[in-house]
């Protein structure tokens, strides 16, 4: 049942003290469920939320200004610090936009490496998002299981690029290091391992009646709402819109692989949960196929100049990050520094619908709903 804002508000005014007896509750910026420094100013009527106004900017770093002050390669590490949980896809967007603008060829092997690392990163990110969300719901154990699996991914990625969180592995025209046999073997072993684990998670968490009661029918997001707010990623696909940047605006070599875009039509938090769980499986499929046809060859285009100069113009490049569509809009003036960098981040769009969606909700439901958006606050604040 989808409530309009008015209906939801009307429902929330069944209070004993009358509609005017509200109080303001500051959720955050140090609240345990906001995972970072998000603050939500809640106007509460008892435990019902009348108005939820997210207040952002506590971890604002002005990455876009930094982009105007440093050259193209120097800005690359910045992009991995937006959504620190899916750094690979973010750096992919930045190298992608520069490669597109400068017409830099990327060797096939490099593209394969990018796809594999991006998908590994996506799994790691979904695992954290899943674990943290279940922790918000009061289940403390799954996050440690998730971190256990994520640890395996991080070890693999650390082996090839040295970083464990803010990966800066991609370069214009390829990647910085070639992958070794240990990485390929480790990834190959990881796929069946993760499949086994997913079975266990399904039994342990997905089927749990308490969890289902907590998130089924909670946080309805209609398709129209998705459009009005530009929702993306699993939030969008949980509302029945089969849109994935990997399919919609094909980049890299995603068109070579056979994978599905999970979509659920329930529009509730459970749908978003299931989308993420299915996406892990689809990412595993992509990794499996990429490993099977992994080509030999150079891992980076040797002809890329050290200081890239992007021809004047404006370019956009979007990637499907773990939380949704990440787009870079680059306005170049032909010099070696960008004229303007706009970073379109998924969490900002997904959080912007929070206010409308959770009017009239109960506080614990709103937190369950917030978990379903899988927010990373530095991604919103940039």
């Amino acid at each position: 049942m989808l409530l309009t804002k008015e209906q939801a508000l009307a429902r929330s005014t069944h209070s004993v003290g009358g509609p005017n007896e509200t109080f303001v509750l500051n959720l955050g910026p140090q609240h345990p469920a906001t995972h970072g420094v998000l603050r939500v100013k809640l106007t509460m009527d008892g435990e019902f939320i009348q108005r939820a106004e997210p207040v952002c900017g506590y971890i604002h770093r002005m990455h876009e200004k930094m982009g105007e002050n440093r050259n193209y390669s120097q800005f690359l590490p910045n992009t991995s610090r937006l959504d620190y949980l899916s750094a690979m896809q973010y750096t992919h967007a930045w190298v992608g936009v520069v490669e597109k603008a400068c017409k830099i060829e990327v060797p096939e092997r490099a593209e394969y490496i990018r796809v594999i690392t991006s998908e590994l990163n996506r799994i790691a990110s979904h695992l954290v998002g899943w674990g943290a969300w279940v922790m918000d719901l009061g289940g403390f154990t799954p996050i440690l299981y998730a971190f256990d699996d994520r640890e395996k991914i991080l070890d693999l990625l650390e082996g090839i690029c040295g970083a464990r969180l803010t990966f800066c592995y991609y370069r214009f025209g390829g990647v910085v290091n070639d992958v070794d046999a240990a990485f390929l073997q480790g990834t190959k072993d990881f796929v069946p391992y993760m499949r086994e684990r997913m079975k266990m998670y399904k039994k342990l968490v997905t089927g749990n009646i308490i969890l289902r009661k907590r998130i089924e029918g909670i946080g309805m997001i209609s398709q129209d709402m998705c459009r009005r707010y530009g929702a993306c990623g699993p939030v969008l696909r949980g509302s029945g819109i089969q849109h994935d940047v990997r399919r919609a605006e094909p980049y890299s070599i995603y068109h070579k692989f056979d994978y599905e875009i999970p979509v659920y039509h329930e529009c509730d938090s459970m749908a978003r949960y299931l989308v993420r769980m299915d996406e892990i499986e689809q990412s595993l499929r992509i990794i499996e196929q990429a490993l099977a046809t992994f080509p030999e060859g150079p891992f980076v285009n040797p002809k890329v100049p050290k200081f890239v100069k992007v021809p004047a113009g404006d370019y956009t490049y979007a990637t499907e990050a773990a939380r949704g569509r990440f787009m870079v809009r680059l306005v170049a003036d032909g010099s070696d520094t960008p004229y303007r960098v706009k970073l379109r981040t998924p969490c900002l769009a997904n959080l912007s619908l929070f206010e409308e969606a959770c009017a009239g909700m109960l506080l614990p439901d709103a937190l369950a709903f917030m978990g379903s958006l899988d927010l990373v606050i530095p991604d919103i604040d940039r």
Partner: protein, 205 residues
Amino acid sequence: MSSSPTAEQLHAEFAALYPPAPVAEKPAPAPEPAPVAPAATPDASGAPVAPAPKPAAPKAPVGPILQTEPPFGATAVDFAARGFHLDLSIPAADVVSVAERLYRHEFSLDTMTGVDWMKLNQMEVVYDFVHFTTNLHVVVRCRVPRDNPELATISSVFQGALWHERETHDFFGIRFLGHPNLVPFLLPEDATYHPLRKDFAGASD
């Protein structure tokens, strides 16, 4: 009007509304063609639509882009080269009607931002619209005078713009008329500076 238009239909619709006449009138060899990649010939698969007014100029010097306006009206763009399908340059007064039109076409507001063209004494507001089923990416841009950057809000059509407009106001000082709550979004609540203006010299506090 179908709600899921193809790139051609959309281009035709907007070209009728905003005929790209001013560009055609301009002398061809001029370095005007503006924010267009120099080598962006529509060769790859993308939007094989109306001949985009893009003379393939050699290496663009640093200057021109900062001094020219984009071609007015609807321009089909090579997706493979630039990452979007339709570039729509419209007068600032029309943003709301164009947003409504795109909303009727079931477009989604992807993002919006500003660009400071200081040398032209202009501010550009760029809207990105994405269609979830046809996967079209439309860029709408309009220019406002830099001394008095004012523009109607589209937040009545796309509520997602509420935050994007606040952010653009933070960074550029562009005022969105009719915005219900145009207070700093990412900057401190008492911020009076606009860091993405090209003449920004640093916040005093």
